[in-house]
């Protein structure tokens, strides 16, 4: 187990390095001169040329890459003379569009996305798994059909539709909640919850529908296994048969999906964040794209991809915890 983790961590470093190279090249593949973007409205070719040197953009590509990676660990200073822009480690670049270090922007946006993703994750896992198990238990009965029908509807509705409908009915028409206005939970927990509840629900509906179907099909498969018959033959109560013997065996694909879905959301839930005006990572990356804010784009891509890679590692280790036949060596 231990050597396996070490090897996987090593592999993760390799993956992240490759990833950083790709995102960095992406930065340079954009058909715009990065130096031009650093320059305000009253731009002259002289300023652009000067900025190019200040930002190190006149250097060969590999030197730029090394500088960029080095900055993540030790920080760097852009510009020279009187006009310097310090970028503290972990420096992911300096956004001249916003006049701010990218790391600072991400640090502000990330908690919001994390709250959004984890809240929705808990909701959809609880509801999706419970209703999936319930449907499987009542397979071929009306309960199963009702749940599957509802899940199909939930699965078919796009998240922006669910979000807008919730917003219009709950907030605009019925005034059950105030307009979403994000505030940190430590500042005003009530307002935080009032703002987050609708985004959580609209994200959770989509995923819960998927997890209901996934759990149900997994349960139907495992409940027909021979060892379930053995469990019943032992005289176990049906609830224990389903929970301890059936669900445990059907858990692996659910864990895989859950890990990757959560990681994907942590990279930013673009549409939900937009509809509910949550200044999270998804909104940050979209506005960076529309504004050609290249350092921010690179940084958000890197952060989102890191989540996925880490989630993969965690999922693989959970496999071994769930299924003893998976040998981690």
């Amino acid at each position: 187990m231990f050597p396996y983790i070490i090897r996987r961590l090593g592999l993760m470093v390799v993956m992240l390095t490759l990833l950083s190279i790709v995102t960095f090249l992406l930065f340079n593949a954009v058909p715009t001169d990065p130096a031009l973007l650093t320059c305000g409205k009253s731009c002259t070719p002289q300023i652009v040329a000067a900025n190019r040197i200040r930002l190190g953009l006149d250097q060969p590509l590999y030197v730029q890459y090394i500088d960029w990676v080095k900055a993540i660990f030790v920080g760097r200073t852009y510009g020279s003379g009187t006009q310097t822009f310090p970028c503290h480690a972990p420096c992911l670049g300096y956004s001249f569009r916003n006049g701010e270090e990218v790391t600072v922007m991400i640090k502000a946006a990330l908690p919001i996305t994390i709250y959004l993703a984890i809240g929705a994750f808990i909701l959809w896992m609880v509801f999706g798994i419970l209703s999936g198990i319930y449907a499987a238990k009542h397979h071929t009965e009306w309960q199963d059909r009702v749940i599957m029908g509802v899940a199909l509807v939930g699965y078919s509705l796009p998240v922006f539709f669910i979000g807008l409908v919730l917003l219009i009915f709950v907030v605009v028409r019925l005034h059950l909640l105030p307009y979403p206005d994000y505030i940190a939970p430590q500042t005003n927990p009530v307002q935080f919850l009032q703002t987050m509840i609708l985004p959580w629900i609209s994200l959770a509906i989509l995923y819960a529908a998927y997890y209901t179907r996934l759990t149900r099909s997994q349960m139907l498969e495992t409940l027909s296994e021979d060892y379930i018959r053995t469990a019943r033959a032992k005289g176990l109560p049906e609830s224990v048969v389903i929970r301890k013997h059936g669900f445990r065996a059907g858990l692996t694909p659910i864990v895989t999906s859950a890990g990757l879905d959560l990681a994907g959301l942590l990279g930013g839930a673009v549409i939900t964040e937009f509809i509910f005006s949550l200044p999270g990572l998804g909104r940050l990356s979209i506005s960076a794209v529309t504004e050609y804010d290249l350092p921010t784009i690179t940084a958000t891509v890197l952060v989102a991809a890191t989540f996925v890679i880490v989630a993969n590692l965690i999922v693989d280790m959970l496999y071994a915890a769930i299924d003893p036949r998976v040998r981690l060596s």
Binding site: T140, D226, K234, A249, P324
Partner: protein, 344 residues
């Protein structure tokens, strides 16, 4: 004290059918049998003859959604069909236990052997984890598993097929049940291991006085272990008799066919004699004898009786019943002519 010859399990007119998209499948039709304490009843038949389904019905393990069960199953005086499922559950694994064909798929792949055994003890007994573990270790030791303490912490996939079946047997017998239903317990095992498992079952039966319902298609196993035999075909019992009678005085053409398909070392024949044809569809059952479409001797019965009328299960001698329209003189003549049944 319980009497050795007391009837433990009495099944009367048990019928099981399943509703499927293609129609009603009559898996078991009007089967009756008795099992006495400490005795072994072998239920013999090919795949789809209803032998497993009838046992699952006895165990209360058929889903009520899709299956229809009628008839009576009385275990030690307690009626099981139509009983509160909770009462039947309390019998399962406690007084009636079951082992299955494939021990790899029958053991949960995610739990340690020890945990699965401990669970089996603790469902039916209020007993501490350490005592349950002790009991599990004793039982594994009893079924001939070496290095018990180590095995308890292993997973099923780390054991050989024979070892796994020993674990299944240990798990089934851990609460000292009065009845063990063994559904093809040796079919998935190597031949040498089969013999060991059968020996083990016989020894354990002697030691614990467990009655066994042995479901098999292997007449060798039957000869080895059974006291009584019920031959099933197409969901019906076609012949029921003490084991000696089945081998020496078989009365039903299907049983003759089964006996003819056992390889015999002392006979100079290079080929076995299979029964021609296929088992009947359980959806459209023949109107007459279930075996008639494959029976070589049906022409000897006048008026096409075999195709039109289902024969009753009739007594041919003490404790021996067969479902056949042939007269006893005809049967004796056929047996002699074809050298069926061992000469006694």
């Amino acid at each position: 004290m319980t009497q050795k010859n007391e009837v433990l399990l009495s099944v009367r007119n048990l019928s099981v059918s399943f509703t499927t998209e293609d129609g009603e499948v009559n898996a078991v039709s009007n089967v009756s049998y008795e099992v006495r304490r400490g005795q072994t009843l072998a239920i013999v038949g090919e795949s789809g003859s209803g032998k497993s389904v009838s046992s699952l019905a006895v165990m209360g393990l058929l889903s009520g959604n899709t299956s229809h069960i009628s008839g009576e199953v009385e275990f030690d005086g307690q009626q099981l069909i139509g009983a509160d499922p909770e009462d039947v559950r309390k019998l399962r694994g406690n007084r009636i236990a079951m082992i299955f064909q494939d021990p790899l798929s029958a053991l949960h792949p995610y739990y340690k052997i020890g945990d699965q055994l401990i669970e089996a003890v603790q469902i039916h007994n209020k007993i501490s984890d350490s005592d349950a573990r002790k009991r599990a270790a004793e039982m594994l030791d009893r079924v001939g598993i070496p290095a018990v303490e180590q095995r308890l912490d292993e997973y099923p996939h780390q054991l050989s097929g024979g070892m796994r079946q020993r674990v299944m047997i240990a798990m089934a017998l851990i609460n000292d049940p009065e009845l063990l239903i063994a559904d093809e317990p040796t079919t998935a095992l190597d031949v040498t291991v089969q013999a060991q498992i059968l020996d083990l079952l016989r020894d354990l039966q002697k030691e614990f006085g467990t009655a066994i319902v042995l479901i098999t298609h292997d007449l060798g196993v039957v000869a080895d272990l059974a006291d009584d035999v019920m031959v099933m075909y197409g969901g019906s019992a076609v012949e029921q008799a003490p084991v000696r009678e089945i081998f020496y005085q078989p009365q039903m053409p299907y049983t003759w066919g089964l006996l003819a398909s056992i390889p015999q070392v002392h006979v100079n024949s290079t080929r076995l004699d299979p029964i021609p044809g296929n088992p009947p569809s359980l959806i459209n059952m023949p109107a007459g004898c279930v075996f008639a479409p494959r029976c070589t001797y049906k022409d000897q019965v006048p008026n096409n009786l075999c195709e039109t009328t289902k024969p009753d299960l009739e007594g041919t001698s003490e404790g021996h019943f067969a479902r056949c329209h042939l007269s006893s003189t005809q049967r004796d003549a056929i047996r002699v002519a074809n050298n069926i049944g061992r000469s006694s």
